[in-house]
Symmetry: C2
Subunit: 365 residues, 2 copies
């Protein structure tokens, strides 16, 4: 990113501008191309945004506004979407749209018949995530997209946590809009992307200048775009296998070595980097603090917002109670973790859970 902060730092411009701006634009378009090709999209089907939150706002509001007069005011999302989709759907509800919040099963999977039945001729958009932000469950996007295609309804998927970690190919899957994020794959914050299949009806969300094919206004953040593309390039299949091995180890060891542990989400169909476990009778917050003192950063509740003590809507959505939600701990693995870290984490959490249970009024003594 550094050369684009210091050497090629001009505002991107066209052939009518100065040459520094033209160089900047080339870097931008090259980055766009790399990201698009990762999902087999055309370069002009991907726009840069300020992050996955904006991508999902743009997808949901953009399509809803574009089609409300022409088709109807109904959208469908799953109950366990991350906040950008969930709260955008609720914002649209306040604007007069009707929203179906689809139930999920005990592992977090959307019921396909439920989806099929929920679609009406007023439905303008279905938004179902790829991999869940907390429990890691990976939806059957193939089946979901085929239902939407058959019913002629547009489909958006929030792939914030799955992009580059799992295959996603818009030539093979009839998905119309995809939210992508950079910082979840060691890229910079403040940048994301949205795939918009050619000819998808969409009203501009961010108004202003004519950047990004006139679909998203704002001076382009070229250093971050370059950093995003580089982050995409650096994710390898070997790395994903390594993350999966760490994930599997922590799940297997926790389930075998520690009593009263529940795995949240699917055992098999889950994000390679994600493990989520409930350690019954103890608080996730206490585990987080004790793990932190030992040098491990884990989280409880939602991925990027363990700031309230409210129970996770995801754990509640899969049929968990408050106790299970509050005792849930999410482990996320990244490029700089090693298998030894996993073993040390397991050892630490075994000790912490045992100690906390000694003082817990809920624990069976």
């Amino acid at each position: 990113m550094k050369p684009y902060f210091f050497d090629t730092y001009a505002v991107a411009t066209s052939e009518f501008g100065y040459s520094m701006g033209i160089d900047a634009k080339e870097a931008l378009e090259k980055s766009r191309g790399s990201i698009a090709s990762k999902i087999a999209a055309n370069w002009d089907e991907v726009i840069f945004t300020s992050g996955s939150t904006e991508s999902s706002n743009t997808a949901l509001k953009g399509v809803a506004w574009a089609l409300k007069e022409k088709k109807g005011k109904h959208i469908i999302v799953s109950k366990i979407e991350d906040f950008p989709v969930l709260n955008t759907a609720k914002a649209l509800e306040r604007q007069g749209f009707s929203v179906t919040f689809l139930d999920v099963d005990a592992e977090g999977f959307v019921n396909l018949e439920g989806l099929r039945n929920a679609i009406t001729k007023e439905t303008v958009l279905v938004s179902i995530q790829h991999g869940n932000q907390e429990i890691g469950t990976v939806q059957d996007l193939k089946a979901i997209s085929e239902i939407c295609e058959e019913k002629d309804v547009l489909l958006h998927t929030d792939a914030t946590h799955s992009f580059t970690r799992l295959p996603l190919n818009v030539k093979e899957l009839p998905v119309d809009l995809i939210t992508m994020s950079a910082h979840t794959i060691h890229g910079p914050r403040g940048i994301g992307a949205l795939y918009i299949r050619k000819d998808t009806p969409i009203t501009k969300f961010m108004d202003g200048g004519f950047q990004e094919f006139n679909l998203r206004a704002g001076v382009e953040d070229i250093p971050s775009a370059v950093g995003f593309a580089k982050a995409v390039e650096l994710v390898t299949e070997e790395e994903n296998m390594r993350l999966k091995a760490m994930r599997d180890r922590i799940i297997d060891k926790a389930l075998s070595d520690i009593p009263d542990v529940t795995l949240n989400g699917s055992r098999e169909k889950r994000l390679p980097q994600n493990a989520n476990l409930t350690f019954h009778y103890v608080e996730g917050e206490s585990i987080t603090l004790h793990m932190d003192m030992r040098g491990f950063a884990v989280s409880t509740g939602s991925a990027c917002f363990s700031r309230s003590l409210e129970a996770s809507h995801v754990i509640m959505g899969i049929g968990g109670d408050h106790e299970r939600a509050h005792g849930s701990v999410r482990f996320t693995f990244g490029r700089y973790n090693r298998m030894e870290d996993v073993d040390a984490a397991i050892e630490a959490i075994s000790e912490i859970v045992a100690k906390l249970r000694e003082i817990s009024p809920l624990a069976k003594k």
Copy 2:
């Protein structure tokens, strides 16, 4: 910014999170405080956004949506606003709001009586920029804000080009919302801020998580926030005087040395870093290209979007014709310019204009 990419890189979190997240949050809040204090605001009256475009979208749509049921559906903007305000106003028009686009005089000043007369009891917001993006004219914000206060209407100002370059103090001026940008003062792109006076009614524009006092969702871009605060700190009164001296030199020399030149905007009440001149009988695009070949980056048309050959709405707004709009060239000065650069630029532009006029069918021979 670098330590916040590499050392303190965690997602900002609260006291319930891990310590890396708490450190990150401290850096964020410290940056917010520095930016707020530059306009004499409280730290919790400033939110970070992805840039001035998003700040203006949030201000206009947020206030319009919050007050449309309670007060009315009328907003007022000037005709020469930059695209984020202008096109957001037009988007609100398509959503059923009525918008008054205030005329400006030959130097770009909003008529104060015109503003007073345009305000009705249905008016929810007035949005008038501080300094113009092309012609540099600085509005009389004191008078404007007093009219709005007297009429009990909220006032937003787009200070993208004036922030830190001109004094702006929310304790002294009754302005309710202010758009601020980082990259216009040598800070990073992809970040901006919005001042929102305490208790201003505003509906969330970017839905999702609960960041930024639950006023703007999205994982915080801490390296950019830190860079923004640093950029604010580095602007000095001495630097602003230096920019003003360069601006004055180019204006005075162009008007005295080159025939048929018009200064666009006010001679006195203008941004210290901005000069905008029309060289009659020649195309601004040709000047831009020739200046570029000699190593000078200048622009024609709007500040950040000389990508279309459409005539500038600003030059047209101050009563210019197409010929004047197309011959306008904007010079913007920054920290790394020196007075010698200005003299070299004047010499270059004199030669270029003389040569272009030799081949221009419009020029008096």
